[in-house]
Subunit: 467 residues, 2 copies
């Protein structure tokens, strides 16, 4: 990076927080998706004021700026695809205040999500969003990607728990949105526009999160089904019975077999589907509800139904689901994790499409996910060095997207568009949708400084995984 | 209106849906706030395509366009303050589909909110937002104003239940946002940007609403307190006990006295506060929870605590709250209903500010509202013909806004900014907040066609109720 710019940077922040050597910069060149892009410089801001000055500088010199939390993004959110400057936001983590009286948390962007869970629960409160990376990921990353996880069905996503933000705009202005009240209709909802904007509209420097009372009890069950379609019927019946589970997870036969192979625990490898249901709330209610769920599974020809009687048994049931990622990783060195999402009633149709895609392209395509809200995770295990196979992966992913959209679904339920799904954006949103989004981006970020190369397809970009 | 424009209008829609005579237009000149503005023409579109053409026409001739549902707005949302064309959206009401399997409703903008409640409940589902005008108001108005009501504490606001929209943009393009999945992170959240935009960013032509299973049971209680501060302590204790009531309403002494005077039912007129608490959920849970609430009220020196044992008793308890509006209307011909909202823990401070404002300006200022989420309704009963009193009202409202903001609250919890609160916008949002909102407005509506004169203060506008 130009010495003049480094000189200006060192007037904003101390030199040890400006990383220039290639070994340091390399650590910031990737995330949990794939592709590597070396930034020209990495800075570790510690205050809102510093970030404001950094963005003003970036606008003067037209330097792309890439905010980054813990880089657990599965869609390329923090990748510095045009080089420039990475803002390492993980160092800005001094504030984690639980306001018990107002059921709020006030947090800095670098705070780890799981620390919010823990601090809230210590005083009987609850922050529901729990992406699987929550022990590593920062709340700043969760906010900008609108992360969710298994609790979306009952509790919604990150967006449903953010009521106020402090941000720095792309041109370096400091702005507060929303506030400490759950009801607030003063002007446009910039809070929820920024949440989920994948770091293209603002850098979040503080957030006010809504908490709820911690549900006093929960109960968990697991059921396996010989036929996938029966698990679908059971899920529909459960949801129509008036029960709203706090989690409703499913795994297909390939996942079951991979997990049983990886760590044998007696899972029925002949089962086409395994579901885990958790309900939470009042102790008497959850007791009754979990038995209703179990009964419904039995009525729909479950092979086996297990209800956990204590925390240890609960952990054992969840173990099957938790082992999916490590187990399927054995199937190939490159894991491509999609999150195409369909209306819940279309899950059986989507599963059938996925089965056909697997056969057509002869790929290790396995499916698990959040069946309650239609948010499936088709994962392809492959090897990115195998060009021929990657071509088939590319085509298969295209068909997965088309199938989800044809069923009234979306390209992304929780991972974001990032770099990977950008070529399909217009297919879902239509020409007008993309234009209206771009108008906002251009009005706020006239120099295209903030996280350029994300969400909107770049000229000539029409491939998802091939470069 | 110019004959040439009427001629063009009649090419878009049949003549009987183009209202030109002054008696018809007068019916569209007011809403539930105050001020009268005669539109130049009123049109009653019946399709998205017609609205698209109307907006294109309006852009060609620079005609202001004012979408209007049932005009129950308390902030001037639909008032045609610059004349022009009113879009009477109440005729566009053909679609009200409940999708039981996916827990969704698909609705036209002119559908009455209470009809959605009813249709959902017929199949065991539930649409929580219930503004007090729900038997009259249209869902389109609810969407654009992000209406809420008593259930905000537990269930959030209209925005939390909208997952997809069909809209016409200010320049006349038809666009779909979101979809039928609860999880959707494809691009910016235009759905929630448009919801609550007070009709300044788009005309809603269809919405997809999220429903939840209908809570199987509910229980209701009422408590009166000699001292207002004790009711505050009781509310805080209840919320910290892990109970999340579905409604937590309060009335101050002036409301209690007005209701008792209007329809005597033995309410204690010496009480400084009356609260109504409703819990819903599993039958066993609500039974236990309502008695915990009652016990806590007793511990905080409640004068009287009543728990409803059946639906009839429940209706009797709610009667006190329902009578507030008709009862206080007797105190003056002009009712100014504010909705300044503060963090819940600041309610006692806000009540103290309101008491002082009442004394200082010698006004009929009464307070009721949604204590659970800090959303108070200070109402001033006055007479708009009394210029001297209106000057005091103007100053009092200014002090109410300042007090709410000083306590970390907002100008508007659920009514919207509209015409009335625009002069205070910058005071809450700051210069940058207003600028960033205006950038969106200008990027989408370069000709300032859609609902001009709302949210953003007009040049020279610095009064709230005085003209």
């Amino acid at each position: 990076m130009d010495a003049k710019i480094i000189e200006e940077l060192s007037r904003i922040m101390s030199k040890e927080r400006i990383l220039q050597n290639v070994a340091d910069r390399y650590s910031y060149s990737f995330d949990a998706s794939f592709g590597e892009y070396l930034p020209d410089v990495v800075v570790q801001p510690q205050s809102t004021e510093e970030i404001s000055q950094l963005l003003q500088l970036a606008n003067r010199y037209k330097i792309p700026v890439y905010p980054r939390g813990a880089a657990t993004s599965l869609s390329g959110g923090p990748l510095p695809v045009q080089g420039g400057m990475v803002l390492d936001m993980s160092q800005m983590k001094e504030k984690l205040i639980i306001d018990k009286e107002n059921l709020l948390a006030i947090v800095s962007p670098g705070v780890i999500t799981a620390d919010i869970h823990q601090k809230a629960e210590e005083v009987g409160l609850y922050y529901p969003p729990d992406p699987s990376s929550s022990h590593v990921s920062t709340i700043g990353g969760n906010l900008l990607e609108n992360s969710s996880g298994p609790k979306g069905l009952k509790y919604g996503t990150t967006k449903d728990y953010v009521i106020g933000l402090e941000v720095v705009t792309p041109t370096g202005e400091i702005m507060r949105t929303g506030g400490k009240t759950v009801k607030n209709v003063t002007g446009y909802d910039l809070t929820r526009l920024i949440v989920g904007s994948e770091g293209t509209l603002a850098v979040v420097t503080e957030a006010i999160l809504k908490l709820i009372p911690k549900p006093p009890a929960r109960k968990t069950m697991m059921a396996t089904f010989k036929r996938l379609v029966d698990s679908g019927y059971a899920i529909t019946r459960i949801l129509q019975s008036g029960i709203l589970p706090s989690a409703l997870e499913m795994m297909d036969q390939y996942c079951i077999q991979a997990v049983e192979h990886y760590r044998p625990s007696g899972l029925p490898v002949e089962a086409e589907a395994l579901i885990i249901i958790e309900v939470d709330g009042h102790p008497k209610a959850v007791e009754e509800e979990i038995h209703t769920c179990a009964e419904i599974c039995h009525q729909h020809d479950a092979l086996e139904v297990k209800v956990a009687n204590n925390e240890e048994e609960r952990q054992t049931l969840w173990q099957a689901r938790r082992m999916v990622s490590p187990a399927i990783s054995k199937l190939g060195p490159t894991k491509i994790s999609e999150d195409a999402t369909v209306p819940r009633s279309k899950i059986p149709d989507m599963m059938e499409h996925l089965r056909k895609i697997r056969e057509k392209y002869q790929l290790n395509l396995v499916v698990f996910g959040h069946a309650g809200d239609g948010n499936l995770h088709p994962n392809i295990l492959t090897d990115k060095r195998n060009k021929e196979e990657m071509k088939r992966v590319e085509d298969a992913i295209g068909e997965i997207f088309e199938a989800a959209l044809a069923l009234g679904g979306t390209l992304s339920g929780e991972h974001g568009i990032g770099t990977l799904k950008a070529p399909y954006l217009k297919r879902e949103l239509g020409e007008t949708g993309v234009i209206m989004m771009k108008k906002i981006k251009e009005a706020w970020d006239p120099n295209h400084i903030l996280n350029p190369g994300k969400i909107f397809p770049q000229p000539g970009q029409n491939k998802v995984v091939l470069t």
